[in-house]
Symmetry: none
Amino acid sequence: MEKKRNAFETNISAIKTMIEQDGFVPGDRIPSERELAERLSISRPSVREALRTLAYLGIIETRHGGGSFLLNRDDHTYIQIIAQFLVTGDSKFEDLAGTLRLLEQAAFVQLADVSILEAHVDSDAAFRETLIATIDNDLFERIWRQVNAFYQSFDQGELYTRAEREAFLKRS
Amino acid sequence: MEKKRNAFETNISAIKTMIEQDGFVPGDRIPSERELAERLSISRPSVREALRTLAYLGIIETRHGGGSFLLNRDDHTYIQIIAQFLVTGDSKFEDLAGTLRLLEQAAFVQLADVSILEAHVDSDAAFRETLIATIDNDLFERIWRQVNAFYQSFDQGELYTRAEREAFLKRS
DNA sequence: AGGGGTAATTGGTCTGACCAATGACCGCCG
DNA sequence: CGGCGGTCATTGGTCAGACCAATTACCCCT
């Protein structure tokens, strides 16, 4: 038995699970704090502690007097929030760039027609964006987008040099 | 003037600022909830809402009866949070398998010595696990693990047939 | 049917209380 | 004198209840 997670994280999971099971979609209003407390058999302060964390991560938005609303994934700010607590030059920064390169290399291997990339060889951002779009896999694209957002919070430069992008095209 | 930040985020910043100004280092015990409430002129529930969020992000750790302690930066909680929210309930099942194949193909392209896979050609799980381990990228591995766990919650079978695994080896 | 005002709902914050776990303090005994 | 054990203050965990503020829903009157 290793399920000794504290009650707080259990509450966050419970709320997340309930949101999924009830089929809420971005924009929907989730149950009120008082109703959540009753349904989960915990007190309102405990519900609030969980909701405040979810709001801070950008999962939900609360409006005074209005209620709590599910946000779009694009509005999730936890990437930036988390990055805010990390010092620049964190040892794991290499993992970010490495993961991005891996994801994009995977996309490239699947790419049948390389010609659609030629038009974007001038722009690092457009080149990589186009490359990922060819995959047509929502989950894969979402993962790439989140990692990329995190990466850019540390480094605004280009991931590949122009020479590297051209090498992509020749390798076909 | 766009300082319309709500009180909650103000409290988090205030606590973070106080921690910095007082020169706390990882491992130190920060003031108690009651003392923080008094020094910041807010109530204990408000302090707790902020502290719980900091704890969820891995900034601090709380011990029942002991106090709250500053954590090291490299506890990787942020990576777990990223992974936890990357894969959510509305991912299409086909996307799951497709993403797994993409991730593993990316790992395979980087693989220099294919021979270490030969010993695991009998087991789908061991084969793929070994493949990912060769990458030596913590973030990449966690992402893969999360996607794989979610995939297995739907399908307990093998991702590749034995013939496909053997094809991997021959393609080197 | 439209508009306005009131009441209900909901988040925001606080007070106070009690429990549970931890740790420091102190006195007792060897 | 020193180690040991128990007591109690401290601290986090949780809850109930209250009150305010903002929003929203509703109903009534025109």
